[in-house]
Amino acid sequence: MSAPPLNADRPIPAPVPFGTVFQLVFAQAVRDLVRRRRLLFIAFAGLAPLLLTLLWRNGATEVLDASAFFSNLVGTLYLSILVYLVGLAFGVPTIHDEVEGRTITYLLTRPISRVAVYAGRLAAVQVLAAVLLALSLVLCFAFMVVGDFGVVDVHFVKQYVNHVWIVLLATMVFTGLFAIFGVVFKRPLVWGVAYAFAWEGVVSKIPGQMQTWTLEFHVRNVMMRDEDVQGSMIEFLRQMMVENPDVSPWVSTGLLLVALVAFSIIGGLVFGRREYVVN
């Protein structure tokens, strides 16, 4: 090596603050996602429950009351399909889009923390995914009650709030998990689909303790139990699983919240240490 350069004693400049990077990346990711066709596709998927709600309003209100219908809707459509679809569509590309698009180089050559980049992009996809499903749920509610406010009682509102909360929490958890897939795997969508529909979809239905290893079990476990709901698919499933493990909903809630935080931290750390060879 040659003699020390003249500027060797110059202080090293500080990196850009975490909060600034988070804010910039978050705003950019939201703008980027809103402009993409993927959002439109998922928005259409989010309309499916509305169609079912309309069908229910036009003929099935006698068979299923509002509470039973809404529990069925959330249990069979939102928690079995939509949270996975939305989680995959938003979570996988969190970092994978930058890697596939090879724009990651621009981020990795800035004086910024990779963890801040990950956190900013993850927050953006989680918020958008949650907003999308929240809008869908709000519209379902509106379709259910318009012209017939009789279905709205305290019990129904409590159940509705509980279900909305658990759908949004599940969406954020799965989005965070699939974001890790996007950082770790070369084909994250394949792994994500396999995980969602082979592991979660199957194992969470197996009677016995094994189902507690799935996130879906804990998601369903947090759903408000409604003894009066007859014909609910959730209740049917519960009854089918005679050996349903007795886990407190509070434990499940805690586990899901821990998973939410843990997935964010793990994803950030993996992204922070991973080397990207962009060609």
Binding site: P4, P5, N7, A8, L24, P111, E275
Partner: protein, 325 residues
């Protein structure tokens, strides 16, 4: 470059002779394949060309120098500091990647402002710097169009703009002229020369010698992940001149022409490939080409045409490798 140059508030003042970038036994393996093999070099302010064939290891070396890849062995120092240990050092670096990747839905201005803000600049300052970079790269008229609609040349320019907009001390430009039209190429080369004259350390990779020659006389020659030669373009030119060139000549009588040429001082050997085709190996091609019309006339052997078969970097590198071994 005789006076110290002050750049942005974050940018260090660099004087001629300052070792801006130092590579010490830099080595990088990709599994069993070696990408860069024990490269040691020092880069100073001004423009330096990194010249090598496709696959020679230019991009890998750039990525190692810019901290994009971790070396398997060795280290890189930027102004005496190890880039691997402090991301704050990226304030001093500008990187223009080889790959044609941009934020397609953003306008040129949005993309620059976004990337400048990631350097910690305020919105106002980022806007002003973006404007300046757009003017310097002749993109100002298209600044508010989405980059997805840019031509190849404009895309290269916006990549160049983002690498220099924050006024870094070191700018890495990986094959910046790929796909550029002649006018854009000329403008970009002028800009790179300007940046070098301002005292920035600009590293430009290319596989085209004359392209690099138009910007700088300082080059690093890389082949198979090793630095083969380091120094002045004229030295490399001398090597080009000295190394045997193969010239294929189309003539009416290859044997007669071979007999005339064989004894000449600038001819190392001749081979008759066909009755009308002769391969000549010369170690002084300029001299040989100057003499050829005269030889044809004096000898009475018409020459229909000739092609230099290996007047390119590949043969030069092969020659250097053979010479060194």
């Amino acid at each position: 470059m005789s006076v110290p140059t002050t750049m942005g508030p974050e940018t260090p003042v660099m004087r001629p002779g300052t070792a801006v970038l130092e590579c010490d036994a830099l080595t990088r393996w990709y599994g069993q394949v070696i990408g860069v093999n024990s490269v040691s070099c020092t880069v100073h302010p001004g423009v330096t060309g990194l010249l090598g064939l496709n696959g020679a290891g230019k991009s890998t070396l750039f990525k190692l120098m810019a901290g994009q890849l971790k070396p398997s062995k060795g280290r890189v120092l930027l102004l005496g500091h190890d880039l691997a240990h402090d991301i704050g050092l990226y304030r001093w670096i500008g990187f223009c990647p080889e790959q044609d990747a941009l934020y397609e839905s953003m306008t040129g201005r949005e993309m620059l402002v976004y990337l400048l803000r990631l350097h910690g600049l305020s919105p106002r300052e980022a806007g002003a710097r973006a404007e300046g970079a757009l003017v310097r790269t002749h993109l100002i008229d298209d600044a508010d169009r989405p980059v997805g609609g840019y031509s190849k040349g404009m895309r290269q320019k916006i990549k160049l703009a983002q690498a220099m907009a924050h006024d870094p001390a070191v700018i890495f430009l990986d094959e910046p002229f790929n796909g550029m039209d002649p006018v854009s190429r000329h403008e970009s080369m002028a800009l790179i020369r300007e940046l070098g004259a301002e005292g920035k350390c600009v590293l430009v990779s290319s596989h085209i010698l004359h392209e690099v020659e138009q910007m700088t006389s300082t080059i690093l020659l890389i082949q198979n992940g090793r630095i083969l030669a380091e120094g002045n373009v004229s030295d490399i030119r001398d090597l080009v001149e000295r190394h045997p060139h193969r010239i294929a000549i189309e003539t009416d009588d290859a044997r007669a022409l071979a007999a005339i040429l064989i004894g000449a001082e600038d001819v190392l050997g001749v081979r008759v490939e066909a009755p009308t085709r002769l391969i000549v190996e010369s170690n002084h091609p300029r001299l040989f080409f100057g003499r050829l019309p005269e030889v044809a006339l004096d000898g009475g052997v018409p020459i229909r045409g000739y092609v230099t078969e290996d007047d390119d970097l590949k043969s030069l590198f092969e020659y250097l490798v053979e010479d060194g071994s």
